[in-house]
């Protein structure tokens, strides 16, 4: 009698464990999904008009900074070597080139960041945080 009871008790315990494991697995999947969504959110750059304005300003500043730094370097060389205004003219041109290069690089990076599906991991995420 006792043995049969024990047997049936173990059986039902096994079923419980199985169903528990299934529920645990389902919960684990849900949790992983929620965590994935949660982790995606803060990583992506701020969106919307404010972000677009920020990007536009970034490109503008990049362009002007190139010319300004080039002009300053030329002016400093002119002062050292007494070649005014030759160096300044040359370095203003080089600075403009550097500014345009910076703008192109920044724009390329923005384009890469804005590419669709870039948030999807290419390899399964295996860190357990």
């Amino acid at each position: 009698m006792a043995g049969a009871e024990n047997q049936s008790g173990r059986k039902s315990g096994g079923r419980d464990a199985d169903s528990l494991r299934q529920r645990l697995d389902a919960l684990g999947h849900e949790l992983a999904g929620a965590q994935a969504r949660h982790h995606q959110a803060p990583v992506s750059a701020p969106q919307g008009q404010g972000a677009a304005l920020g990007q536009a300003l970034r490109l503008g500043v990049e362009l002007v900074a190139g010319v300004a730094v080039g002009g300053f370097i030329g002016w400093a060389f002119d002062r050292w070597f007494g070649t005014a205004p030759l160096m300044m003219v040359v370095f203003l041109g080089l600075g403009a080139a550097a500014g345009i290069m910076n703008v192109m690089r920044t724009a390329k990076r923005m384009q890469a960041d804005a590419a669709p599906f870039k948030d999807l991991p290419s390899v399964p995420d295996d860190d357990d945080d």
Binding site: H39, P46, G54, L94, G99
Partner: protein, 265 residues
């Protein structure tokens, strides 16, 4: 505090409350540096100014916030602890995404920088406060420190090979001298563009707010509602800009770090 109060009162009296000749408030008055505790060091003016005061406030606020929010170290975080954890994760993900795991060594610096700039920007949104980041000398000092530090890391990691960073690949030999000069200038623009972006955004926004605030007063009860409505919307935008510029400042630091550590554009 009485010293500060007296100094503020004296300065205000000295400048006639910051009124323009036309009777409207001067929109640039808010950016004025005031000496709270005059102090001279080796002939240099090293006074404790309102700018320095707000930097101290920001640093204390960040320290208080992080230490107080994490005091319980609960597995299930309270709301405040969540905010601290989110700011940690936000910056940690930023560093990991832009620099990779090799950059996590510099995470404390980026986190400090982001929190400092963010807090200074947000403190600037409080009425009657002072916006430290609206002064180019402050943002330029930050940017110059980042620039020098990142360049030093580049040379430390790669030695003289770091100079190859300035030599673009697959370029005919004739063009090389010209392109190297352009690359070097492009590299030197970094501290300027980094500092000007933050400073210009903060100063322009706060000037706009003051100008429209003056419109509200000048147009009175009948006409003042339109600029007031604009100001409400613009204040929202300014809070967004305050966050965005701190974010951009930190993410560009990450990108520069990535260039120095991994040496590719």
């Amino acid at each position: 505090m009485t010293v500060i109060g007296a100094a503020l009162a004296a300065e205000d009296a000295g400048h006639g409350g910051g009124l323009e000749p036309g009777g409207l408030p001067d929109p640039m008055h808010q950016f004025e540096i005031k000496r709270l505790v005059p102090f001279e060091l080796f002939g240099l003016d090293a006074s404790f100014t309102n700018s320095a005061l707000f930097m101290v406030i920001a640093a204390s606020l960040i320290t208080l916030f992080t230490v107080y929010a994490m005091r319980s170290r609960a597995l299930v975080p309270s709301r405040l602890q969540s905010v601290a954890e989110i700011s940690y994760e936000f910056v940690a993900n930023m560093v990991r995404d832009n620099v990779g795991t090799a950059g996590m060594k510099y995470f404390p610096f980026v986190f400090t920088l982001f929190m400092f700039v963010l807090t200074l920007n947000m403190l600037g949104m409080v009425p009657y406060s002072f916006t430290v980041t609206s002064h180019i000398i402050v943002t330029f000092a930050l940017a110059a420190f980042i620039f020098l530090g990142v360049t030093a890391i580049g040379f430390w990691k790669h030695g003289a090979k770091f100079l190859r960073f300035f030599v673009p690949e697959g370029v005919p030999l004739v063009m090389l001298p010209l392109l190297v000069v352009i690359e070097v200038i492009s590299y030197l623009t970094r501290p300027l563009s980094l500092s000007v972006r933050l400073f210009a955004n903060m100063m322009a926004g706060h000037t706009m707010l003051k100008v429209f605030g003056a419109f509200v007063v000048a147009l009175g009860f009948l006409g003042g509602w339109a600029p007031l409505a604009f100001m409400v919307a613009f204040t929202g935008l300014e809070i967004l800009v305050a966050f965005l510029q701190a974010y951009v400042f930190a993410i560009l630091t990450c990108i520069y770090l990535n260039d120095a550590i991994h040496m590719h554009h």
